[in-house]
Structures are given as structure tokens and as C-alpha cells.
């Protein structure tokens, strides 16, 4: 708890209420008023975490609950308008931070935004090794829809079976992408740990971020494809 308090970047270094100095605590040491989080606060810092990709979700939840108890508007109903506004804004930031970091994919996408200034949504890209498979799937999907609209049950069933097989191939690919991503999580975290010793390892970091971005982009493509197949078969 203490360590979080020290690391929280606040909007101001002076209490908005009594003007005393505040050194990162989210309650003023003098008047105990809640302090607004900085608009530029990053989600890792908000939840008192280093920018690592492997997160213990149980302690993340504990921290989230702890901060919720500090900021939630339920505890500010009878307070001043300013305190209520701060509570609302802080809670909104906290909730977004928790939601983003809880999910590993959203977490790494967010890290890419922070570290490499990536766009909010990473566009999908077809995995090169699956190029032929993807073309086949497109064909099967068309066949399946055509057969369905013509009421041709036999060819719809055949195309359906082919799609189900293709789905397995895609799921295997996604699993492979995710397992490589997990390896990169480890590599990234080691680089972050080393950084605290002496060097920043910019080249290694950049390389890792680039590969993660590429994997995510392929994963998005595969996921969309799977979604299309599932929707067609339902």
C-alpha cells in the first residue's frame, strides 16, 4: 500500500484544498481530501506495477479492490462537489486500468501503445504460412453460404465439414501464436528487470516489441477468421 502511494502521479503537487505539499499520496496528509490522479497516468503505475507483462492476477485484483475502496463514488456521497468529481474521475481511470491489465492481450496491446506509440487497434494481418489455407477457407465459406441459400443440404454439409477442419487448423495457429507471445512476455520482463541495474537495452526492447506487434496482428486476423466460421456454422 505504501509503495503505491509513493508512485501515484497526481495532477498537482499541491493539495487542491489546503495547498499543502503532497508527495504522491492520494489523500492529502494535512486535510485528508482525495487527490486527483494525473490525466497522463499510465495503467501500470495506477495499479502500482512495473511495466512487465506477466502479472499475478490475484494480487492485481487485491490492489484493484484496495484502490476501489479508496476512490469509489459510494464513499463520497455527502462530500463536496470537488471531492465527488475527483472520486468519479479517479474511479473511472482505475476501472479502465484494471480491465486493461487483467486481460493479457489487452495488456500487451496497451504496452505497445505506451512503449511504441502503436495505434489503439492493431490491424489484422494474414499469417504468411497460412496463405493457402486462408484462400481455401474463403472458398469454403462462399460454397457454404451459396449451398445454404440454394437449400442444397448435401453440399452445405460438405462445406461445413471442411470449415470445421479449417477451424481446427486456425485454432492450432492461434495457440502457436499465443505460446510464442508468452515467451516474448518472459523476454520483455527480463529486459525490464535488467534495466533497473544499468542499461536500458533499447535495441532488444524494440525488437521484442516489434515481434509482439506482428504476432498480435496475425492473431487478430486468425481470430476474425474463426469468428466468421463460427457465425456461418451457427
Amino acid at each position: 500500500m505504501e509503495s503505491i502511494k509513493k508512485e501515484l502521479p497526481l495532477a498537482r503537487s499541491m493539495c487542491w484544498h489546503c495547498q499543502s505539499d503532497i508527495g504522491g499520496e492520494y489523500f492529502c496528509g494535512q486535510c485528508v481530501k482525495v487527490q486527483p490522479l494525473s490525466k497522463d497516468i499510465d495503467y501500470f503505475t495506477c495499479l502500482g506495477l512495473p511495466r512487465k507483462l506477466n502479472i499475478d492476477t490475484v494480487s492485481l485484483e487485491t490492489k484493484f479492490y484496495e484502490l476501489s475502496r479508496a476512490f469509489h463514488p459510494d464513499f463520497y456521497v455527502g462530500k463536496s462537489e470537488m471531492e465527488r468529481a475527483v472520486s468519479l474521475a479517479n474511479s473511472a481511470i482505475l476501472n479502465q486500468a484494471y480491465r486493461t491489465l487483467k486481460d493479457p492481450i489487452q495488456r500487451v496491446e496497451y504496452l505497445l501503445r505506451l512503449e511504441a506509440g502503436a495505434a489503439k487497434d492493431i490491424p489484422g494481418k494474414a499469417p504468411a504460412d497460412l496463405f493457402d489455407t486462408i484462400l481455401e477457407i474463403q472458398e469454403h465459406l462462399e460454397e457454404f453460404h451459396a449451398a445454404k441459400s440454394e437449400g442444397n443440404a448435401a453440399s452445405a454439409a460438405r462445406a461445413g465439414d471442411l470449415l470445421r477442419n479449417a477451424r481446427k487448423a486456425l485454432e492450432a495457429k492461434r495457440a502457436a501464436l499465443e505460446s510464442r507471445l508468452a515467451e516474448l512476455f518472459q523476454i520483455w520482463d527480463r529486459l525490464v528487470e535488467k534495466k533497473t541495474q544499468a542499461h536500458a537495452y533499447p535495441a532488444e526492447k524494440e525488437q521484442t516489441l516489434k515481434e509482439m506487434r506482428d504476432l498480435l496482428s496475425q492473431r487478430t486476423y486468425v481470430t476474425n477468421m474463426l469468428q466468421n466460421i463460427t457465425e456461418a456454422l451457427e
Binding site: R69, D74, L88, A92, N95
Partner: protein, 605 residues
């Protein structure tokens, strides 16, 4: 801090509760009943709410409004399919439904406000103090317009709505407080008009909603209609009778159907008796439980898809749910319990009173907000995805469904034409791809200083607060100044309209009181006039000529006072008649006494 009460504003019944020490308790009415039927009736002698209004359902169907919650935050087009079932008249103005109520066309929030006022009065009588603040519950799946309409109803009733709480989450608070359980629970809430499913994680006093889903147009009312449909066909076939143009018959069928449905939860069969119009005798129909189940099976089935979606969104499987809690009167139906049990693979809990648990939870939340309970915290979610319409009519999502609230999203806007001074933003809620398939919440007009195209940069913040209600603010990024935005709600009341309704509700209340006083004074005047005339006719000879003249003068002035609408003048004239006829009345009394005694022996007296 001022007292905050908890209110369950239900489709069929409403309740008001408070925290009695550490126990949430429902406030009872004068007859010991906790439920206030959510029914409002307009009668020539005044407005009735609750049980008294319920009695008007069959006799006064056109002016007795029920299930008004189904119309909250809606336009007429949203409810066309069910219009045939309602005997009262509905119209629309500025995207808001109006209900014909006496000679006024009132909005659903105004009708709901009458129910809230009744609850408020009940609590005020109980505490002997004015109640100004309340927590009000809504179905979890209510959209922004429906939540806003509920908040408006509170305002019109003279209540500050401190918090809008979702019904299933409120139920979980009452449940969690009582059981002190940890783990994952599912709350299945099937009420009179709405269905909700919420999946929550209970840990160390935190009630975290993982996912919620539902249908705000599915409930016990729909079950009743299935029975009504059968009876309508029957009546046509056997008696050649149609309910069209017969609102009393229509309402009678609905009321009987509801009663039969309730009986069938405990009994194997139930018989409906309906008196036919024009003394055509009686219509009788026996329903078996199996028949009811057959009729409503698909409706119950319709609740299961939202359950599965919520389980999926929560990132768990059905077997991960530790406990299933049933809420809402419709969960008394055995088939509902069976289906829920089959879905989750465990016996659902129904030991808490399904009618009261939501109000009790609202009282718990009210206590948390007043600083009473400090170790419990509810973290709820927004039930529907919020987005804006983009070029080409697609919806671009800003805040995904099941995001913990409060939450916010920012979006940057600029101009496409030199000197453009405004940008229109269309806000939507829903899960579909195209804007037109989602719910339109509001249109905003963003004011922008005239500059070359692409230069202005206005950041718009969409904030969903802890009530699940959207607030929009805009800021010019270059200057850092707040930008004004003009809001046009698609299905809601403007601030000015609400202000007018608050004023009207006072004026009407005043008018109502005056009308009642007038009626009472007139009744009393009638009574005294008849009595005086009778006395003069029977015993005029007992009065002196002066007395007689005085009486006649007083009677004449009372009659003239009665032509006015001033109840005070009538009262004053009544008093004059009273005084003038006092001695005559006395003499009359004595003589009557003597008459009575004349024929009797002393011993009989």
C-alpha cells in the same frame, strides 16, 4: 446526513425499505402490507395509487394505469405490438409516450412519480419526518434513457435519487449481507415486465459484477397475455364475443389470468370465472399447470440465451457458479426453477422473499451511501455497449458492455470544411454493427470556433457514472477551454420539461386538495340543508317567527355560497345555518324526547 431510503419501483409492485439497525426492513402500509401495487387510477373524486387503484382495474379500465415501467424511456413505436393489451390510451410527443389520464396526457415518469410519492408518504408517516433522498432500483438491462426516465420520476416526486442501482445487484447485496458468502453467484431476476441475469464475484465485502444481460420486455405480464390470448379465442368461438371496445372485459380477463397463473405455481389446476357483459352469464375456463407451461415455455426459454451470454462474458462456465439466487415473482413458477436448475446444474436459492429482496438490497445500498455500512462495496457494470455513429451508418464502440462503472472514453473531433462551427454526434447503445439497429440515446451538437478544416481539435469525454447514466463533456484541446454541447435526448424529457412537471405536480397537488375540500364542503352543505328543511317542515311551529326568518336567511345564503367554488365561503355559510337553527334543533330534540316518553312507563326509561 439526511436519511436515504431504498425503493424498488417494480412493474407490478413497488416497495420502500430502510435499514433498521443492521437489518434491511420493508416499511409496511397501514394494513400491514409491504407491497404497493404499481397502479394509478384517475377517478372523479381524485387520484388513487396502490391497492385502492387496483380495485379500479376492472371498473375503470380506461383510467387505471398499470405496468407503466414498460413505457419508461420509450417511444410509441417501441410498444406498438402490445398496445392491444392495454385498455388505456397512449400517444407520443417529442419521442416520449403520453398516457391519457383524466383530461391530462402524462408521461411515464409522471405516473411513476405518483407511485413514488405514495411510497414517500408511507415512509414519512412511518418516520414522522420528511424524506428527500432515495436509492431507486432499475432492471440491470435498462438502457440510458430508461435510467434517466427513472431518475426524472424521482425528481418529479420530490426525491433526490442518490443512486440508481441494478435490481439483481441490489438483491445480491441483501443476499450477501445475510449469508456472508464468498464466491461466484448468479442472480436470475424474472419480474412482472423485465428479465435480468447478473453474474457476481463476492470477495471480502466487494460485490464485483462480472457480467449482466437480460431483456427489458419479458416478464410475468407476457405470461398473463398467453392465457388471455387463449381466453380471447375461446370467447370468440363459444360466445361470439370480442374484447375490442370492451375494456372492462379485457381487463377482467387479464386480472383473472394473472390470478390463475399465480395459483398454478402451487396447484395442478386453476379455474377462471369471468362474468360476461350484457348478462350473458359467465365464462369459465380451467387451466392445468401443464397447459400453462406449454403456453409460456418459449418465453422461459428466451431467458436462457441471455444467461449463457452472461456466463460467457464473465469468462466462466456454468459450473463455476457457486450459488444461484432467484428474484422476482415470476421465479415462483416451477418450470422457471427447473430450467434455471438445469442450466446451472444446481438447485437455486429461493429462501429470500423474491418480492422483497430487491427493496432490501436498495436499503443496504442506501446505508452504504449514508456512510453506515463501510465494509461492503458494489462494483457494477454498464449492461450495453456505448458508441457513436460513424460515416456510413456504422456504430463505433467507445465503451464495451460489462465494463465496470464509473468509466469513461475520450474521442477527438475535428472539422471537414473551412469555418465549420459545429459537429453533430449521434450517441448509441447496443450490440449491433449498424447504427440503425441500435438504440439511439441522444444527438449532440458540438460548437466549434470557425477555423480552417482539420485545425480545431475538440476532445469529447463520455463518462458513465455509478448510476449507469451517461454524461458528456467537451474540451477544446488548443485552448483547454470547455466547449458547450447541446443535447437532444432521443427518448427523454428535456430539463425544462422536467422543471415544468415538478411545478405541475405541486399545482396539481394543490388543485387536488382544493377540489377535495370543495367536494367535502358541498357534501356537508347538502346534508345540513336537507336536515334543516326537514326540521322546519316537521317542527316549524316550535320556532319563533324571528328564528324562522333567521334560518331561512341563512339557508338562502348557504345556497348562494354553494354556487361558488370557494370552500371557505361554503363552510362559513354552513356555520351560519348551524347557529340560526340551533335553538330550533334544541326544541325539536326536547319535543322528540317528550313524544318518545309519552307512551312509556317510567320503569321503561
Amino acid at each position: 446526513m439526511a436519511r436515504i431510503v431504498g425503493i424498488d419501483l417494480g412493474t407490478t409492485n413497488s416497495l420502500i425499505a430502510y435499514m433498521k439497525g443492521k437489518t434491511p426492513t420493508v416499511i409496511q402500509g397501514p394494513e400491514g402490507r409491504t407491497l404497493v401495487p404499481s397502479i394509478v387510477a384517475y377517478t372523479p373524486t381524485g387520484i388513487l395509487v396502490g391497492d385502492a387503484a387496483k380495485e379500479q382495474l376492472v371498473h375503470n379500465p380506461e383510467h387505471t394505469v398499470y405496468s407503466v415501467k414498460r413505457f419508461m424511456g420509450k417511444g410509441l413505436a417501441d410498444v406498438t405490438q402490445e398496445l392491444q393489451y392495454f385498455p388505456f390510451k397512449l400517444t407520443e410527443q417529442n419521442g416520449v409516450i403520453r398516457l391519457q389520464f383524466g383530461n391530462k396526457a402524462l408521461t411515464p415518469p409522471e405516473i411513476s412519480a405518483m407511485i413514488l410519492k405514495e411510497l414517500k408518504a408511507r415512509a414519512e408517516a412511518f418516520f414522522g419526518e420528511e424524506i428527500r433522498k432515495a436509492v431507486i432500483t432499475v432492471p440491470a438491462y435498462f438502457n440510458d434513457s430508461q435510467r434517466q426516465a427513472t431518475k426524472d420520476a424521482g425528481k418529479i416526486a420530490g426525491l433526490e435519487v442518490v443512486r440508481i442501482v441494478n435490481e439483481p445487484t441490489a438483491a445480491s447485496l441483501a443476499y450477501g449481507l445475510q449469508k456472508r458468502k464468498q464466491g461466484t453467484i448468479a442472480v436470475y431476476d424474472l419480474g412482472g415486465g423485465t428479465f435480468d441475469i447478473s453474474i457476481l464475484k463476492l470477495k471480502d465485502g466487494i460485490f464485483e459484477v462480472l457480467a449482466t444481460n437480460g431483456n427489458t420486455h419479458l416478464g410475468g405480464d407476457d405470461f398473463d397475455r398467453r392465457l388471455v390470448d387463449v381466453m380471447m379465442l375461446d370467447l370468440k368461438a363459444k360466445h361470439g364475443l370480442s374484447v375490442e371496445g370492451r375494456p372492462k372485459l379485457q381487463q377482467e380477463l387479464r386480472v383473472r389470468a394473472e390470478q390463475a397463473k399465480c395459483r398454478l405455481s402451487a396447484e395442478a389446476q386453476a379455474t377462471v370465472h369471468v362474468p360476461l357483459p350484457d348478462s350473458k352469464g359467465e365464462y369459465r375456463r380451467t387451466f392445468s399447470r401443464a397447459e400453462l407451461e406449454n403456453l409460456v415455455n418459449d418465453l422461459i426459454e428466451k431467458t436462457l440465451a441471455p444467461c449463457r451470454q452472461a456466463i460467457k462474458d464473465a469468462g466462466i462456465s456454468a459450473t463455476d457458479v457457486d450459488e444461484v439466487v432467484l428474484v422476482g415473482g415470476s421465479t415462483r413458477i416451477p418450470l422457471v426453477q427447473q430450467r434455471v436448475q438445469a442450466l446451472f446444474g444446481k438447485t437455486p436459492h429461493c429462501e429470500l422473499n423474491p418480492d422483497e429482496v430487491v427493496a432490501l438490497g436498495a436499503a443496504v445500498q442506501a446505508d452504504i451511501l449514508s456512510g453506515g455500512i463501510q465494509d461492503m462495496l458494489l462494483l457494477d457494470v454498464t449492461p450495453l455497449t456505448l458508441g457513436i455513429e460513424t460515416m456510413g451508418g456504422a456504430m463505433s464502440s467507445l465503451i464495451r458492455r460489462n465494463t465496470t462503472i464509473p468509466t469513461s472514453a475520450k474521442e477527438m473531433f475535428t472539422t471537414f470544411v473551412d469555418g465549420q462551427t459545429s459537429v453533430d454526434i449521434h450517441i448509441l447503445q447496443g450490440e449491433r454493427e449498424l447504427a440503425k439497429d441500435n438504440r439511439s440515446l441522444a444527438r449532440f451538437q458540438l460548437k466549434i470556433p470557425p477555423l480552417p478544416a482539420g485545425v480545431p481539435r475538440v476532445e469529447v469525454t463520455f463518462m458513465i457514472d455509478a448510476n449507469g447514466i451517461l454524461n458528456v463533456t467537451a474540451r477544446d484541446v488548443r485552448t483547454g477551454e470547455a466547449q458547450s454541447i447541446e443535447v437532444k435526448p432521443s427518448y427523454g424529457l428535456s430539463d425544462q420539461e422536467i422543471e415544468r412537471m415538478i411545478r405541475d405536480s405541486f399545482v396539481y397537488a394543490k388543485q387536488d386538495i382544493q377540489e377535495r375540500q370543495q367536494i367535502e364542503a358541498m357534501n356537508e352543505a347538502d346534508l345540513i340543508l336537507r336536515a334543516t328543511e326537514k326540521a322546519l317542515a316537521r317542527a316549524g311551529n316550535l320556532a319563533t317567527p324571528e328564528e324562522r326568518a333567521a334560518i331561512q336567511e341563512a339557508v338562502a345564503s348557504l345556497k348562494s355560497a354553494m354556487t361558488s367554488v370557494d370552500h371557505r365561503a361554503i363552510r362559513a355559510a354552513i356555520e351560519k345555518v348551524d347557529k340560526a337553527s340551533y335553538s330550533l334543533a334544541e326544541k325539536l330534540m326536547n319535543s322528540t324526547l317528550q313524544e318518545a316518553l309519552k307512551d312509556k312507563k317510567l320503569s321503561d326509561v
